[in-house]
Symmetry: none
DNA sequence: CATAATTGGGAACATCCGTTCTGTGCCAAT
DNA sequence: ATTGGCACAGAACGGATGTTCCCAATTATG
């Protein structure tokens, strides 16, 4: 996934704000005015980028045809938590450049301090977690056997930790991290080289 | 207060539905098309009436400048909605005997009047909807091709309608209902024998 | 360095869309 | 019968709006 430019971030932020304030999407020219773009073609150009990356959808040839993909529309936002990044079994969490990407979630997840990650790819398909799904993770430093956890490998090849989403199985002080994909091999690590960051508590999929 | 004419009632209803469906207000011409008014001036005329009675507000000279007043939106009682029953592709909705089964959902689903169904069995596994998942359904009477809908077959073998969850594909006035399971055959019915009750908007899975 | 790709600006175009004007039929009050 | 208000239809005006074309500046890319 590409990183969003400052302009696109600003546009996304303005669209969300405008929607909440007026209950209708802004026009291309209103967006341009708000983020300091004099030409409608440039707004259109960046809207294409945002649409391609799935941040919004557009109805062709229709005034105010912008529709934000995930988050609730307008009037009363409701409880929401930020989406911290992308995760895919076997790959590190990508830092996300869009701080305004949030999902609306049930209240209790907010109360429990959960965070959200957007699933990239279909590497967790055996658990029926599809590309684009949002997983809700409750922070905790331990987990029972067979639970799906966000695990941080502290002693990997790179010094930086890598976080992955996998099922966890303990065997003495050896730990097996089982991917949710039949074609991927499990990872075996020492218990001391692993830190559980949280446990998967919910999967939320938005259609359309 | 004056009593609203049938036309004004229909317009108000359409505006509310359009807003929920598209996230933006309709244009004058879209309203006219929906309620069977050929002239934009008549729509404008009735919109004036609705505005005068406080049912909505209008921004002057602005495309899609209609905004429903609070009275038009309907209240939002709480953060959870009841699970109405079980559903499985190909089988009717079972009435549920446990009225205490509710799911906590994002606020906007409540505002949009959604209801929830608990998935029974793995007959929708091709869409990665697992046994025990909760599907959130937004009430609407139409759907685009390929969308997953709750469809009511009004002219089935039994006189009572049967509701199923399937992907919908239109072909003239024939409709194909495609199950989400490779081992199940699609159903073909006349468009007049089918009523779309709602569209699948979200899947929520709780772990543990 | 040369070339292409990306990002942006300005203007023009076709259509969308709110508004207004004119006219018609209906109905009740005068 | 005449008047006036109401609900409506059709057409047209003008501004709003999405889209596209052409060109410039910047940044990769070979």
């Amino acid at each position: 996934m590409r990183t969003l430019s400052d302009r696109q971030l600003g546009m996304l932020h303005f669209i969300r704000q405008y929607l909440g304030e007026h209950g209708r999407p802004p026009t291309v020219r209103e967006i341009g005015l708000a983020v300091g773009i004099s030409s409608t073609s440039v707004v259109d150009y960046n809207l294409r980028g945002l649409e391609r990356d799935g941040h919004l959808r557009r109805a062709k040839e229709l005034s105010r045809g912008i529709e934000l993909s995930d988050r609730g529309r307008g009037a009363s936002p409701g409880p929401s938590i930020p989406v911290l990044g992308f995760i895919a079994a076997g790959e590190p969490i990508e830092a996300i450049s869009d701080p305004s990407d949030t999902v609306e979630v049930p209240q209790r997840f907010v109360e429990e301090g959960c965070f959200a990650l957007r699933v990239k790819g279909r590497s967790m398909i055996d658990d029926h977690i599809d590309d684009g799904d949002v997983v809700i993770v409750k922070p905790q430093d331990s987990a029972d056997d067979g639970e799906i956890v966000v695990a941080l490998l502290t002693n990997g090849p790179s010094n930086e930790g890598e976080a992955t989403l996998k099922r966890i199985y303990r065997n003495g002080n050896r730990v097996r991290l089982q991917p949710a994909n039949a074609e991927m091999e499990p990872i075996h690590v020492d218990a001391k080289d692993l830190r559980v960051q949280g446990k998967l508590v919910s999967v939320i999929r938005s259609i359309g």
